[in-house]
Structures are given as C-alpha cells and as structure tokens.
C-alpha cells in the first residue's frame, strides 16, 4: 500500500468542492513532475498562474497525476467527474505502449505478417493496435465530458528528440537475411562519421534503413546526425521521430516510456472532433525553441520536463483553461512570467537525480556530465550528496545499509530521500561517477583519488574473485540487451528466460577492478551456439591487448586465461570478448519468435553471437588448488 501511495501526490484527502473554481490535473509521471515532486510540480506551476489570473482564493488545482499511470487514465478521467471539476487537464501518453507481445489468439496473424513482411509487419500491427486504443480512450472520455459539459484540456506529450538516444543495437532477424551487410554498412558509416564525411555516412545509413525497414534505431540516428551536421533540422527531426517510433515492436529490452507518433496523431485527430482544448507540446516546443529540436533544455530524460519545460507547458495549459472556463483569450507567452519555480537547491537535486537516471538508462557521458554540471551550477550544496553518493555507490554493502546512505538521509532532502534512497541501484557507474568527480572539481573538490581507492578496497580482484557477469560490473559494459537477464528487480518478471549471458553483438564488454603489478586469472565458460560464417576464433582482449584466442565450439567449454601483470591497469580494466560473425538465419529466425509467442515467452528477435555461462576474474598470484592438466588443444590455441 505504502508503495502505491508513493505514486500519487501527497494529499491526504480532497475537500468537498467549495466556492473556488476547481481544476483537476491528471496524467502520468510527467504530470507528477518526476524528479521535482513533491518539492515542485506542474500542478503548483499551473495553480500559481490561475491564481494570478483569477485571485488567490478563486481557484484550486487538484493534483491527481500518478506515476506509472498507463491507459487506466481513462477510468480516472471518468471518475474525477465526481469531484465536480470546472475543468480537467489530461497529460498522458508516455506510458501507452505498443501491444506487443500480442494476445495468443493473434499469434497466427503475427506469424503470417512476419513471414510475408518481416519485422515491419508486427511493427505496423503494434502501431495499429496502439492507435485504435488511443482513439478509444479519447472518445470514451471526451464523449462523457461533452455530455456533462465539463471543459477538457488534453496535453499531447513530446519526446526528448534532441538528446535521448536508445542504445545502439543490432538489427533483428531480417526477412531478406541481409544482416551481415547491415553490419558492414554500420561499420562503414561509423568510419565515415569519424572522417566527418556526412554525405557518405548518410548514404550508408540510408541503405541500412532500407534493409531493416526502419525497425532499428541505428541507421536512423546516423541519418539524423548527418542531417544536423549538414544543417537540415527538419530532416533531423523527422529521423529522430522515426527512430523513437522504430522500437514499438521490441518487447525484449524495455524501451523507455515515450509517446509514439501514432499516439500523438490519434490524440490530435480525436480531440479535434470534440473541439477539446489541446496543448500540442511538439508544436509548442517548436515555437518556443524557434524551430529547434527539443532537448536537455526542456527535458530531464526521455520525457520528464525541466522547470522550463513545465513552465511553458503549464502556461499553455492555463491559456486553454482560461479559454474554456472564462472564454478569455490570453497568449500563453504572457502567462509564463506569472508561474513559480523551485529553489536552486531543488533544481540542483533534480539535475543530480537526472544524471543518475540518464546514466542508468545508458545515456552518453556527455549528457550525464551535463546534468552533473547543472547540479553544481545550481547549488554547491549538492556536493555533500555527491560525496556520499560516491561512497554508497561503490560499496558492496546494500545501499541503505551503508553509513553514507544514513548520512545522505540525514541531509533531510525530500527529493533525495524519495528518489535516490528508494530507487537507486548500486552499480560500478564508470560514466556517472566520472561525471560526479568532474562536477565536484568545478567546486574545487578533489574526489578522484578517493573513488579510486574505494573501488580497489571494495572490488579489487586481489581481494576477492569478481563475477564479471554480476550486474554491478556487467552494467558498465554499456550493453543493455546483454544484461537484461541479471537486471535487478526483473527476475521475478522474466522467469523463463535463459539464465546466462547472451551476446547480441560482435563484441561483449566487461570490466574488473585490478591492481598495478597484480596478474589476473580469467575463467570463462562459453559457447557459440549458432553456425558461424568463418573459422575465426573467439578473442579476448584486456585493455586493448589480445590475451587469448579460443577456438569456437557449439558446446560449453571452460578456459583459463592468465593475464600478465603488465597488461593489468590499476583500477578499471576493460575486457572485450569478440565473437565470430554468425551465419544469420533470415526468416527461419522467426520460427523461434512464433514458438515463443505461442508459449507466452518473451520472443527472441535477435541473432545470438555467443553465450557465456560463467566469467570470473581472480588474483593470478593465488596458488591453484586443483591444477588442471594442460590439454593438447592449448598448443593449437594462439597463445600470446
């Protein structure tokens, strides 16, 4: 119960309606003011404007936005009519997901779609289902409101097109079987980007999207980047929108919440039928940014807004309410100055939380550093939280049991208490802690040495064996698809997934914490489950140097690799396992997808390059308890 409570505004009860005009705001976390709430919320921003317009005691805004609200917003919208509102604002759409995986009864249809069209078939299916559902929500709600003559305002959410990047992943099984060509194009395009040959990169990416039929973000992101570099903002925006929409079919890795184009379109078209007031934030932000692409100025992450974003959106919503309730036309731009803003301390905390959130959602070092820098720019007080955070994030002791968590808690910030101490998960966080250290430097606080020292104390292979597959370390590889199986808190949901590591790309990245002068022993049990296109071995690199080449095998095999001391870094060491290029199955890959769907499993749309059952790093100086005999194969293996 307590948990459910956390999703709503902290209001004990709603008083019976009095003389005040009553405006109700419902919606999801973006309407809750995620990362600011409870210190600052869109409802507060809106109420301030309306009270300035109507008088302090003339109007109230009731905040019924709920984090994690999905399509049940329909029921809530109908229920709040009991509260006798003078206007209701619905700010929803980011949690309206594609209906994939489908109902079992639709599996034969999906089967046909896959065989005839490839992944683009189920993608269209998911879009059509979603669009129909959104139209139904709007109709169900708007028709009742019309009959009761209660003014209704819809806010159509926008996505952080400018800065949010879904992690790059391989294309799914392609109908035409041209996956290898796709990979080659991607590699060529990367080289072209590096050489700043944007025309060539765009050309290669264009061919990628033709092959994958826009079912992958990878080509679309390259096209967007090239368009931006070549000064074509409208084209860039279009590619970024296509990229946002391209993942609707993919239920295997949980894509961040987002409002898909089909949802936006359905909202626009259906609300127009009822002549509802609409805040079209894609349009609003475009105006506000003078044609620019919405980014970190307005967003804290994929969809949650910064203060600036909240203020603009609520000013526009207030203008709608004024029109609907008072029939007065006020330009939203004139309302922006009438709203309120959070304190600098709250801004700093929200920015720091955004840094954590973005880092844990695999965003770039640049973006993570931006929010860290924003945090210290708003208030140097945040340094205390950052210092304790370095400690608690690096401990092996569960977060809330750490002394540093106690110290964070004693700082007494509601935001930090609510978000950080509740939802943070400990991981190595190379990017995030790097960003924190850098931001602290701005305040002339040196934290790097302490971080390095702490990391070694807690995680050095010299002190204890490291399980490279453990989420704490594996998450630093930056490959989200690969770590789904060890994702904390997820194991109760996906019970029939394989309980070992699967590589979805040519290279798999791992890390361990080493010590200068200390050799390391890697132990790996791996296999290459699919036929390969060549006889290339599996290669293992440590910090860019190949330390082992292992012949590929379909069956599990265990190997020990002794990494000499001069190849080991003091601190973080990168381990990369390179897999041979597989023979891609083309449409026969869909057979497995259909089986999975029919059995209610999460389907596997992607080719597996290699699998690892166990992977550990330990102190190479330790005497082995059972010395295994060196097998004859060892000489066959390229031993460097």
């Amino acid at each position: 119960m307590l948990q459910e409570w956390n999703y709503w505004a902290n209001i004990g009860r709603i008083e019976p309606k009095g003389a005040k005009q009553r405006v109700i705001l419902i919606g999801e976390s973006v309407a809750r003011g995620y990362l600011y709430d409870p210190q600052y919320t869109p409802a507060m921003a809106l109420e301030k404007i309306l009270q300035t317009q109507w008088g302090k005691n003339e109007v109230e805004v009731i905040d019924l936005a709920r984090t994690n609200q999905g399509m049940q917003v329909r029921e809530l919208a109908l229920a709040v009519l009991q509260l006798e509102p003078d206007a209701v604002i619905i700010f929803s759409g980011n949690n309206w997901r594609g209906c994939f995986p489908p109902q079992v009864s639709d599996v034969p249809y999906i089967d046909t779609l896959l065989r005839e069209e490839g992944i683009v078939g189920p993608k269209r299916y998911a879009e059509e289902k979603l669009e129909a559902e959104v139209r139904r929500i709007v109709n169900d709600v708007a028709s009742v409101y019309a009959s009761k003559e209660v003014p209704l305002v819809w806010i159509i959410p926008e996505f952080n097109l400018g800065d949010w990047r879904d992690p790059m992943i391989n294309a799914p099984h392609l109908l035409n079987g041209r996956n290898e060509e796709w990979i080659t194009l991607w590699e060529d395009a990367q080289r072209a980007l590096k050489a700043e040959d944007f025309h060539r990169a765009a050309d290669l990416a264009q061919r990628m999207t033709e092959i994958d039929q826009q079912t992958s973000v990878s080509g679309l992101y390259i096209l967007a980047e090239c368009s931006q570099k070549l000064g074509n903002l409208d084209a860039a925006r279009r590619y970024l929108e296509l990229a946002r929409d391209s993942v609707i079919w993919d239920s295997s890795k949980s894509a961040s919440p987002r409002t898909y184009s089909v949802s936006q379109k359905a909202l626009r078209e259906e609300t127009a039928k009822y002549k509802n007031e609409v805040v079209d934030t894609p349009e609003l932000f475009r105006q506000y940014l003078k044609g620019g692409i919405p980014d970190r100025r307005l967003f804290l992450d994929y969809c949650h807004l910064t203060t600036e974003g909240i203020q603009i959106t609520m000013a526009a919503a207030a203008a709608c309410v004024l029109r609907a309730v008072k029939a007065t036309d006020v330009a939203w731009t004139t309302l922006v100055p009438q709203t309120c803003a959070p304190s600098h301390e709250v801004e700093a905390e929200a920015a720091f939380l955004a840094a954590v959130h973005n880092a844990h959602w695999w965003q770039s070092a640049d973006l993570v550093r931006h929010y860290c820098a924003e945090a210290v720019r708003f208030s140097p007080e945040i340094a205390k939280v950052m210092n304790y955070f370095i400690d608690l994030q690096t401990r092996r002791t569960p977060m809330l049991m750490c002394k540093s968590a106690q110290q964070v808690s004693e700082l007494g910030s509601p935001l930090i208490q609510h978000y950080l101490l509740r939802y943070n998960y400990q991981q190595l966080d190379e990017i995030l802690l790097g960003g924190v250290v850098q931001a602290l430097k701005q305040l002339h606080i040196e934290a790097q040495a302490r971080l390095d020292q702490l990391r070694k104390e807690e995680h050095s292979v010299a002190a204890r064996d490291t399980d490279l597959l453990d989420y704490y370390y594996c998450s630093a590889g930056g490959q989200p698809q690969e770590v789904v199986w060890v994702l904390p808190r997820r194991d109760r949901l996906v019970r029939r997934e394989s309980h070992f590591y699967k590589a979805y790309w040519l290279k798999s990245k791992f890390v361990f914490i080493g010590e200068a002068g200390c050799p390391v022993k890697l132990q790996i049990t791996a296999r290459v489950p699919n036929p390969t296109a060549s006889n290339d071995p599996v290669a293992i690199e440590v910090n860019g140097n190949i330390v082992a080449r292992i012949p590929t095998a379909r069956e599990w095999e265990s190997w020990e690799v002794r990494v000499p001391p001069n190849a080991v870094n003091d601190g973080i060491n990168d381990v990369i396992v390179s897999w041979p290029m597989p023979e891609f199955p083309g449409k026969t890959g869909y057979l497995g997808v259909i089986n999975d769907l029919a059995e209610g499993n999460i389907p596997e749309f992607f080719c597996i390059f290699g699998e690892i059952h166990t992977f550990t790093a330990s102190d190479g100086r330790k005497v082995q308890i059972t010395a295994p005999e060196v097998s004859s194969e060892a000489s066959v293996v390229g031993v460097q």
């Binding site: 998960y425 690799v561 059952h613």
Partner: protein, 615 residues
C-alpha cells in the same frame, strides 16, 4: 558500442590460455520444479555436495519457478561449470503428468474456465526444453517418476541395505501413494494408489476447511490436533474408504479438487455440521476437535498400510517420503505401533527432496552402483556466509556491533548470557539447511525454561498462531534425560514425550510431547558448543529452536537476509557468524531497507516500477 579496434602489440605480454579439462567426477544435478518448493541438488560421485530451495534466493516463499539460482549455487559449491555436468535428473515424468492433466481436462461437467486453465498448463513448455533454455544445458536429461524420486530420496540416503518404502503425497504425476522396496542398489514398487484417491488431498481438504492454506497449513492442523478430541472421527471416516491391500478410496462427494479450485465440497460442511472456518478468524474447540479427528484417521490409515507393506516386504527398515511423511506424529505412531524396527524419513520429505531422489536414481542408472551408502547425517547443504563479508557489511554501515572473530568461546558465553536473560536470538551460522526445518544454522533460539517464550516469539517474531508449540534442540548425549527417546533424531522428524525434570513448557505440546532435534559436535560444532555452555550454566542442555524467518517469508539465507529479518522482527539479538548486534545498534535507515526488500510488486505494476526507477 563504439569499441575501439585492439592494438596488436603484445610484445610486452605473456598471457597463457588453457582449456580447463572436464571435472573428473560424475556430476549429477537433481531438479524439482513447477509445483511447489523448487529445488536443486548436486550429487558428485554419489556424494551429496549441495542442495537448496529456490525460495531462499528468490525470497518468494515456496517459489515454484525453475531453480535457476539454486542451479548456479550447486555448480559453485561443487567447483564445476555447466560444461562439467554429466546429467540432469528431473523429478517427475512430464508424459505421465500430461496424461493425468488430459484426464482431468476431460472430466464431465468441468467449468469452461477450469478446463481452460488445465489446457493452458498442458501446452506449457515441456520441462526438458525449459532445462535446455534456462540452464543452457545440452547433455542427457534423466526423467525420474515422481514417486520413484520420493522413494529414492528416502532409501538411498537412509544407510539401509534393504527397506520397505512408503511414499505418500498429494499428487505427483499419477500415483499418490506407493508401496515398494529397496534392496542393494535397486528400488522397486509393487503397488500404488492413483489420483484422485489421495491421502495428501484428504488431509489438505480438512486443512482448507479449517481455514489454513492448502499445501502449507497441514502442519498447523497437526499442531492443533492435540488440543482436540477425536469426536468427529466417525464423520471423517466417511471421506475415505480403506479397501483391500494398499488401496483406499476417497468419497468424491466431499472433494471438489477435480473440478474446482476448492479442495472440498459443501457436503463436507454438512457432514461436520458447521461452515468452514474463515482464514485468520478465531479458533474454537470445534476446529481443534476436527483437527484431532482427521489426524487420528490419517494415523489409522497410515498404520494399517504400513502393516500391509510389512506383510509384503518383511524388512526391519521402513523408508518414508512424500509430503504426508512430514506428519511427524503419524510417522512416530507408525514406528511405535507398527511392525518396523527402524524408520528413515527423508528430512526434505516434500517435493524439494525429490531432487535428491531423482539425482540418486540417475546415479544408479549411469553407474549401476549405489550413491554413497551412508545415512544422511545432516542437511547443511546450502550456501555459507563468511565472517569477512559480515564484517564488511557491518563496518561500512553505521550499525553498532560486537566483533568476536577468533574468540568463539567468548561469543558462546556472551550469547548464553543473553539467553539466560531471556533474550530471543537470531542465529545464522555456516551452511544453510536444506528442507523445511531450521536445524541450528538459520534459527531463532531462546531459553526453553521460560514459559512466556512461546507466546512472546509467536506474537512478536513469528506472527503466527499461538497454539503451535516450538521445537527443542538438545545435546544428543543428554537427550534421553529429558525426552523419551533412545536414538538420534537429527532432523526434528519425530515426536516423543517430554520426561525432563525441568519445566519446559515453551517447547512441550499440550499432550506432553515435543518434536526433538538432537545435536552433535560432528555435524554442527558451534551449535553444540552453545548447547553445552547453556547446559553448563543452567543444567539444561536444551534450547528452543525455530526457523529464522517472519511469517510469509522464506527462511533467511544470506547475512543481509538475516539482518533484514532481524530489523523487521522483534528479535532481541542477532548473531551472524562472529558478529553480534542488538536492537539499539540498528541504524534508522535499515528499516527502510527492510521494508523495500519486503515489497512484492504485482506483475503488471512491476513493469512500470522498473520503468521509473533510477535504473
């Protein structure tokens, strides 16, 4: 994914690569899953190296999901990788089970919903495929019939060279009761009772009627029974018709489990003259009398069938397994009044223990040799926590704690002082127990001489029904001075009369009996040391011992689990390995951690929860 190309200058490096040869031993993993209480074990050259229930890792009580973490633990404990596994033995025959499910699905008059759910279960992925997909295992899979798994789980671990074997449970694949024998390396069966006639379901139906959770609350009925009189035994005999040989039949008029989700029909309420008890509502004499009556009838049937079994297999030894074999009162009566001289009950007699049996059967099939034929002497087969880890956790926290590393005697004396003061102690030491009982490694301990202890622990720690007594752990060498028992009882699987000169009301049942665990230095040195010191100080070699968990939660496994359970409950003192914490030393934030670990989001919600975490 911008991974840079490797440099090819390794002149500085001299790395070595070696293929690790396959582990020389025969490694068999036993698996039970899917119904109740999933578990995994590792039999290495016939030695039981590890066994653990999945619930201890997943923290979902009676978790029935495939034991993926338990599987990994078994590999780790055996020092092997998946490449070293020679065979996976599965605890039931999916084909037989499918047959029963088909038969159930075709029952006339079955509601569509129920039919749908049965057919849904039938199209579920076959366990062999799940093993391949989930574990990534490609080697041979031995399918072992469910009751054979039960039988083997008792016989092969009994130390007997020959025995009669009785297995009794709710249902596995088809049979519900089997009669068989073990001789040398062979286990055989000569008769069985098939579903839906089931002694397990007979007892479970009354369990449900008495307002307890079926498959979970049976031991509560057994605990309630001594408070009652068997005045409803005649009525209850209507439920079950004992027929010739090993057979019996349920009177299906009173049972609904074939067609509904309930165990019993309204006819049962009519027969007993009162409506079923609402869960959590007050208990009265009627309920106690019904409990006593069903217990008496069960014992009668068991005793009669044990005599029948002996007539066919005239061995001195009896082996028992299956969920009903956890009814220690019935077992005790079978031994006392029945024809057998010795009894071995598999300590994990429920379905978790079938993993042990399946693995043993696979071992015999592969080697034509028995797995090591020594009597199972302990169940400390789960993960151990290290003192170093506990130290690390405590030192980086702001908890106040006492460090007794290298000072075991002092630790023991300290804990005994607290016990004498009347403190309730959470005690986590060494490897965790396999099976349903805590036997001194993940236990809550208290002074059994204090009459208030029973209510105190029931109310504050276990949050459970007050009628259930706690069990004593006693030094084996002194057990006979306090209990009417002349042989070791290491697994708390027998009841006997309390004959102690000391007043032991906290562990004595209303009928003067107790469920005893005898402790020796050989199998649990630190626990034995504690009992010895307590005896030296008080003249009482006995401690009250109950499982270290709060209601609704699995028994603790890790140091963190133990700490969190300590925080959430009202236990006075926590002893983890060499460290001691009291309540005053708990940092304020630990409450929040304990609360969060206990949150169990529903499926739909959890997806969203995941989305908005800072993860």
């Amino acid at each position: 994914m911008s991974i840079k190309e490797p440099s090819h200058d390794f002149s500085q490096l001299r790395s070595r690569v070696e293929r690790r040869p396959k582990h020389p031993g025969l490694n068999i993993i036993g698996v039970s899953a899917g119904y109740h209480d999933s578990a995994c074990c590792l039999l290495q050259d016939g030695v039981l190296v590890a066994a653990v229930q999945e619930e201890r890792f997943s923290r979902v009580k009676n978790d029935k999901a495939f034991p993926r973490k338990a599987f990994r633990y078994c590999l780790e404990a055996g020092g092997i990788s998946i490449a070293d596994v020679d065979s996976i033995a599965y605890y039931e025959d999916p084909t037989q089970k499918l047959g029963r499910q088909l038969w159930m699905g075709m029952m006339p008059g079955l509601p569509a919903e129920r039919r749908g759910s049965i057919f849904d279960r039938m199209v579920k992925t076959q366990p062999q495929q799940v093993i391949r997909r989930l574990f990534g295992y490609e080697g041979p899979i031995e399918i072992v019939d469910h009751h054979l798994s039960h039988a083997a789980s008792a016989y092969y671990y009994s130390g007997f060279d020959d025995a009669a074997i009785l297995t009794v449970d709710g249902v596995g694949d088809w049979p519900t009761t089997t009669y068989g024998w073990g001789k040398g390396i062979d286990v055989g069966r000569f008769e069985q009772v098939d579903f839906p006639d089931s002694l397990g379901f007979f007892y479970s139906a009354i369990t449900g009627y008495l307002g307890f959770e079926v498959n979970e609350g049976e031991y509560k009925v057994m605990g309630l029974a001594p408070y009652g009189e068997p005045i409803y035994a005649d009525q209850i005999r209507n439920l079950i018709e004992v027929t010739s040989e090993g057979q019996y039949r349920l009177n299906m008029k009173y049972f609904a489990f074939l067609t509904e989700d309930s165990m019993y029909t309204e006819e049962l309420a009519t027969l007993l003259g009162k409506p079923p008890r609402e869960p959590e509502s007050e208990m009265n004499q009627f309920h106690m009398d019904v409990a006593k009556s069903v217990q008496v009838v069960l014992e009668e049937v068991m005793l009669e069938k044990a005599r029948y079994l002996h007539s066919k297999v005239p061995s001195e030894n009896l082996c028992m397994a299956g969920g009903v074999a956890l009814n220690v009162v019935a077992n005790g009566r079978c031994l006392r009044e029945g024809p057998f001289k010795r009894l071995f009950v598999q300590p994990a007699a429920g379905d978790a223990g079938t993993s042990l049996g399946a693995a043993a059967v696979a071992h015999v099939r592969i080697t034509r040799e028995a797995p090591v034929k020594e009597k199972m002497s302990h169940v400390y087969l789960g993960p151990a926590n290290t003192s170093e880890d506990a130290c690390q956790i405590l030192q980086t926290s702001s908890a106040k704690f006492k460090d007794f590393r290298g000072k075991e005697d002092e630790l023991i004396r300290y804990v005994v002082d607290r016990l004498i003061e009347g403190k309730v102690i959470g005690w986590s030491q060494g490897r965790m127990e396999f099976g349903p009982r805590s036997l001194g490694c993940r236990s809550i301990l208290a002074d059994p001489r204090r009459p208030e202890m029973r209510d105190r622990i029931n109310a504050l720690v276990k949050m459970r029904e007050a009628f259930r007594p706690f069990a004593p752990a006693v030094l084996q060498s002194k057990a006979h001075e306090h209990f009417d028992i002349d042989h070791p009882s290491p697994f708390m699987l027998e009841t006997c009369q309390v004959i102690s000169p000391i007043d032991l009301s906290a562990i004595t049942h209303i009928d003067g009996s107790a469920r005893v665990q005898t402790v020796t230095r050989e199998t649990n040195p630190r626990f034995a040391a504690l009992l010895e010191e307590f005896d030296r100080r008080t003249g009482c070699p006995i401690l009250l011992n109950t499982s270290f968990n709060v209601r609704g939660e699995p028994i603790v496994c890790t140091t963190v689990d133990a700490i969190m359970c300590f925080v959430r409950s009202q236990i006075d003192l926590l002893v983890v390995e060499d460290f001691v914490l009291d309540r005053a030393g708990i940092p304020p934030l630990w409450d929040l951690q304990a609360q969060q670990r206990f949150e169990k989001p529903g499926d739909g919600e959890a997806v969203g929860h995941l989305v908005y975490t800072l993860l």
